[in-house]
Every structure is written in structure tokens, then in C-alpha cells.
Symmetry: C2
Amino acid sequence: MHLFWEHGYEATSLAMLREAMGLTPPQIYNAFTDKETLFRKALTRYHQTEIGFALEALSAPVPTREAIRRLLLGAAEAYSRPDKPGGCLFVSAALATSPQAQAIADELKAYRKASEAAIANRLAKGKAVGDLPENLSVEGFAKYLAGVMNGMSIQARDGASVEELRVLAQTALAALPAEGQNQAASSKE
Amino acid sequence: MHLFWEHGYEATSLAMLREAMGLTPPQIYNAFTDKETLFRKALTRYHQTEIGFALEALSAPVPTREAIRRLLLGAAEAYSRPDKPGGCLFVSAALATSPQAQAIADELKAYRKASEAAIANRLAKGKAVGDLPENLSVEGFAKYLAGVMNGMSIQARDGASVEELRVLAQTALAALPAEGQNQAASSKE
DNA sequence: CAGGTTTCGTATCGATCGCTATGGATAAAA
DNA sequence: TTTTATCCATAGCGATCGATACGAAACCTG
């Protein structure tokens, strides 16, 4: 998973994977069928172990602004762990691929779209509760937030520290409109 | 250039390049020495022909907020041209590479860092003129803006339209603080 | 201990990568 | 017309890709 995270799908060779896992070629193919299913296993593992903060933030029983704050700050931490590759695997692993691997690229794109949809769902819920102004475009703002997270992934890959990503997240939060009461509190931290 | 833009450095094979240019192997090597220098030629060409909006926006004799607005809206257009690959070549072409191509990845990273530095310079100038509040962190805000542009690049690659990217840019602009007079005007458009 | 079966590491498969040597066609010089 | 030189497309170079065939070792069963 770390190798795919660092070098992407195509640039990670089976020789690297074999050396990292200490397996011989038949062992790796008995266990994972082929490279593509191995990558998909790494994908689901990444989703379960490294991206939990997102679902956690979006489903927490807190006001919408706080949920989004947790989402972005969670990304700041998850994308800049010292012992892990920088950024998000969903963004890095197959952004530009050869025509043969476009199925993989499409699958990662679907993951990103799903993340954006999850954000949009949370925003719609917040709008229904009254946390967000009536005239806010849920889809537009979800695209903004998903875009900011993707941008944080690039910045993390370029070496941005946790603190720098946190500042970026806080800055991005300033674009979030508030229905009155909770705007002043956010400028404190 | 379009092939590198679409498929990235490593996933673009010389066979694809030869077919696109209608050249035989010796012709391509006589003209461009090897794949790496060909890619660098494509890089400088991309920088000259597709990214002019950035320098233009940052050096225009307009208030800081307007400069940033032109920067982000310019990116929205440049990243979603119908007849061009989506997103920015500097972001897409070598985000995750094999160890052999890390020199290329580092070079693109340097390009991205240079863009962020250019934004920071413009912000510092704006701060000196009084367009921006005194307590604003120039580096932090530049990292935010560069991150938003990188995120727009990902969204464009995922199929976002010009209009969607424009909305994203406008949303990102809402995070820009103003020294009083020009804040009200921006919420109009 | 002998026989049959399963497991597993090595060696290698065909395909493709970036890149280059070679042979034949063409053009200029005598 | 003959000779020489230049150009350039085809064929193939070594290396590496993902994936597999084969022989040896190990193990459970009589």
C-alpha cells in the first residue's frame, strides 16, 4: 500500500512489491491473482485505515461548520504523516496513466467523486437544519471543499508540514458562510 | 506536449509520440536527443503558451484582490479548455513516478513552488500597498491559493466544466480578507 | 522406509520500454 | 555515367515489464 501510495499504480513494479513483502513471484500471484487486484486490495485497505477521519467528521453530531472544520483539519494530518507518503493515495496513485491503466484511473476518479458527494450530502443536511444560508449552492461548495482537499494533497506531496496544511485548512474555512452565530467563534483559533 | 499533458511523463511512450508527430525513431532522436529533453521542451512550451494568464494576472496594475481574482479565473479557463487535456501539466505529468524519473518529478515540484512564490510576492506587494491587512501571513495565504489552484487542476481532470471551476474560484476568493473598502464590491458578481 | 502429492523457488516466458546500428535509396560530385 | 557521400526507414539492441512453466524439496499417507 505504501509503495502504491508513493509511486502510484503503474510506476510501482512487482519487483518492488516482492522485495517489500519478501515474497517470490508465485507467492504473490497465488495471494493476489495479479497486480490490478493487489492494487484494489491496497485501495480498500487505504480507505479503511487512513481515511477514516473523513466519514468520522462528516457523520459526527456537530454543527456543519465544525464538521467541515474537522474534515479539513483531519486531511491536514492524514496527508502529512511523517512515516507515510505525502498526500492522498486517491489523488496521487493514478492521475496520469497510460491507456492500458485507464480503468484504474477511472476507479480512483470515482472515489474522488464519491468523497465530493459525501461532502455535498453533509452540506445539504446542514442547509436543512439551518446551519447554512438558503442561497448556498451545495454542489458548488462541495466542489470547492473537495478541491481544497485535493490541493492540500498536492501541497503535502510537495513537502508541506502539518502546521502549514492546518493554516491552509483554516484559510479555506474562511470561505464558509455562516448563518449568524458561529462565524465569530471560528476566527479565534 | 498534449500527450505528456494527458498521460504524464512516464506513461507517454515514444511510440505514441512518434505516431503523433509522424516521425521515425532516428528523426525524433536527432531532433530532441532523448525523451527527457523532449519532455523539457514540452514543459517550456507549455509554460509559454498555456500558463501566460498567471504572470499576466500577477503583474497587472490592478488591486491585489483583482489580481488574485484574475489568477483564479484564468486558471478556471486554462484548466478546462475543451480541446486540451484537463488540469495543469505541472500537476498531472509527474505526481507519482518510479525512482528513475524522480528528477522529472522534482523539476515539476520546483515549478509548482515557483508559482507559489510568485503568488507570495504579489501578496507581499499588496500588503505593502495596503491592499491586505497587516496581520495576514503572506506565505500561508500563498500556500492556500496555490493549493486551491492545484485542487482546481484535479477537479478539471475529473471533468469539471469552466462554469464549475469559476464557481470554485469565486468561492475560494471569499476567503481573501479585505482592508475595508473592496470587500462589499466582491460579493456582487 | 517407499510412494504419491503438494508446495515453492528459480529460471524464463512474450511483450514493450527507450534507444541505436545497419542497409538501401537518394543526391551531389567527378 | 560512375563514384562518393548523405540521409533515413527498418530491424533489432539490452533492459525491464507483468506473469508463468518447471524441477526440487518437503510432507502426509501406506
